[in-house]
């Protein structure tokens, strides 16, 4: 196989992508700095393309893939494409949980309507940054937190609540919470397991060749439970509403990557209602130990009728900011007939028009909060 020639093809493709990215325009200067650092990296590795052998090709390929993966997310994170109202909310959340390191939240917009996911490679894979530093001396001042979302729903603030869950995956990976928790649970005695077995309704192999697989399954499920609880702190049970709808025919089904939506709903409800729950207690303990933060309700329930009067909320603080999502969800779930009734409308309004206006009011409520905050903190010198 002509690996050297293939690596050079990869290099040419990467250069084309980099050149395209020169047109990207970011509001956040950190993204521009990150992109400039990608150019530095490319220029540092390009001369090596002539003299590549076995291991060197692999490292070369990894670095090129790092560049293209970064660009893929930066491309959909320009001001025109990024839903900056939601990303700004997520940024507040991230800073509450990670205080000593700086990350940049970037989004990739996907054609798949169900594509909500977190990709940990650029945020938590230390080895690639070590390789880059060792081979080129190039250092990235911030790392990217990559969240994928559906292109057509980039302005849908109802489904945006799922992004709080996806951000939870990053926090989980960063602190290795579900990873270490699964290591602890797998060795539980039968008596210890009894308390939480409702949430893990399958055989867990403690020994032998099946242990690795069981451990991974436990980790996957604990990760999902953690993220549901993480999101519920900010947006209540709205992130599991959508899940319940999508899994209407399989709410009791558990697979390798996800626990059943019935169990996930149950855990979130217990958390929000302050009910005792052994798994919740265990996850809370790990969260406190690993992050020094408490798992707690971090949003304010908004009860005003501004949306029924067709005006955006006058959001005063971060708790109210996150509360915008459950507020609008609550209105939507009461039904469009109720909306028309409370709003006392004479003209007919189709459900899609109500959806559109609620979305608009959410966008403006969130956007206004950041506009006012920026305005107030800026003083003329």
């Amino acid at each position: 196989m002509k690996y050297k020639e293939l690596a050079q093809l990869h290099l040419a493709q990467c250069e084309t992508f980099l050149n395209k990215s020169k047109n990207n325009s970011y509001s956040d200067n950190h993204k521009q700095v990150y992109q400039d650092t990608l150019f530095k990296l490319f220029n540092a590795i390009k001369p090596n393309s002539e003299n590549l052998d076995g291991r060197a090709i692999k490292n070369f390929q990894r670095q090129l893939s790092f560049i293209t993966r970064s660009l893929e997310f930066l491309l959909d994170s320009t001001l025109n494409s990024i839903p900056f109202e939601v990303v700004s909310c997520l940024d507040i959340v991230m800073k509450e949980w990670i205080k000593n390191e700086e990350f940049i939240i970037v989004t990739s917009l996907d054609n798949d309507m169900d594509e909500y996911c977190f990709d940990p490679t650029l945020a938590t894979d230390d080895s690639i940054y070590q390789l880059i530093l060792a081979e080129t001396g190039v250092e990235f001042p911030r790392r990217l937190v990559q969240i994928s979302m559906p292109l057509v729903l980039a302005r849908d603030y109802f489904s945006s609540v799922t992004l709080y869950h996806e951000l939870g995956h990053f926090i989980d990976e960063y602190y290795l919470i579900s990873s270490d928790l699964s290591e602890a649970i797998i060795d539980y005695s039968a008596f210890q397991k009894q308390e939480i077995e409702l949430y893990f309704p399958y055989t867990v192999k403690q020994d032998g060749p099946g242990r690795k697989d069981s451990l991974q399954k436990l980790k996957n499920h604990l990760g999902e439970y953690f993220c549901d609880l993480f999101a519920a702190q900010y947006v209540g049970n709205t992130s599991v509403y959508y899940l319940a709808y999508q899994e209407i025919s399989s709410s009791k089904v558990t697979d390798y990557t996800h626990p059943s939506s019935e169990n996930r709903n149950h855990l979130v409800e217990d958390f929000l209602e302050g009910k005792p729950n052994p798994l919740l207690k265990l996850i809370k303990k790990f969260i406190k130990e690993y992050t020094k933060n408490d798992l707690a309700k971090r949003f304010e329930k908004i009860s005003g009728d501004d949306f029924y009067k067709f005006i955006p909320l006058d959001v005063q603080n971060e708790q109210q900011l996150h509360g915008v999502f459950p507020y609008a969800w609550d209105i939507w779930l009461k039904g469009t007939a109720n909306f028309l009734n409370v709003a006392d409308l004479k003209m007919p309004l189709l459900p899609e028009s109500i959806y559109k206006l609620l979305n608009n009011l959410m966008e403006k409520s969130i956007g206004n909060y950041f506009i006012q905050k920026d305005w107030q903190k800026t003083e003329i010198k």
């Binding site: 509001s27 001001l79 025109n80 900056f84 009067k309 067709f310 005006i311 955006p312 006058d314 409308l345 004479k346 003209m347 007919p348 309004l349 028009s353 559109k356 206006l357 608009n360 009011l361 966008e363 403006k364 956007g367 206004n368 506009i371 006012q372 920026d374 305005w375």
Partner: protein, 211 residues
């Protein structure tokens, strides 16, 4: 003739929640004769589309089916403090930074602020009593030079005129409700156009292709 209202009455409307402005970043935006509005973050920029012209007719003389006006505009966003360059003869749909709900008793006329009129920017439109949403404005640069505008700058103003009676904005069907970004013209949604297209068909002995 209906008179415009001054700052005292505007403040009374605001305090009674008859007039809602969110956000009102500075009280000084309420001037002696009206309210200064700021340039918002969202723009629809006119561009040359693949289709030869914007069709506001439902007659099928040029093509079957109605063209989408959105094809002639490109969306662009900015953040507070960033800038937007408006080129000579270019039309841009923008919106106010402020979201408004107007009282049912007052109509508002929009004009450029004098400093921006002097640059060659024109605007003249009205906002109906009871309207709610950000204000959509059509900016055209009549200058021979491009003009760089700052998002968040006070560029246009609204003058209120009281109506002789209260009206209900939602008593009839509305095309624009709670808009927060500029929306392209919905002229083709006017009911009259359907009637006019039928009239044109009958007069010219054309067959209704949709039948």
């Amino acid at each position: 003739m209906t008179a415009f209202i001054t700052s005292d009455e505007i403040w009374i409307l605001i305090k009674r929640n008859k007039l809602v402005i969110r956000p009102l970043l500075e009280d000084s935006q309420v001037t002696q004769v009206g309210i200064d509005f700021r340039l918002g973050c969202n723009f629809l920029i006119s561009v040359h589309g693949r289709e030869p012209f914007i069709n506001t007719s439902l007659n099928d003389e040029f093509a079957s089916g109605q063209s989408n006006v959105k094809r002639f505009f490109q969306e662009s966003r900015r953040q507070l403090g960033e800038t937007f360059i408006l080129y000579p003869n270019q039309t841009v749909l923008a919106s106010s930074l402020e979201y408004l709900k107007l009282p049912d008793t007052h109509l508002m006329a929009l004009y450029m602020r004098n400093s921006y009129s002097r640059l060659g920017l024109t605007l003249s439109t009205i906002v109906q009593p009871g309207y709610c949403g950000c204000l959509s404005i059509e900016l055209t640069n009549n200058n021979i030079n491009p003009i760089n505008l700052t998002v968040g700058a006070r560029i246009f103003q609204g003058i209120f005129m009281s109506a002789d009676k209260e009206t209900d904005y939602f008593a009839v069907e509305r095309k624009y409700i709670c808009s927060v970004r500029p929306e392209p013209s919905a002229a083709v949604a006017d009911g009259d156009l359907t009637k006019l297209a039928m009239l044109w068909q009958q007069r010219n002995d054309r067959k209704d292709k949709s039948a």
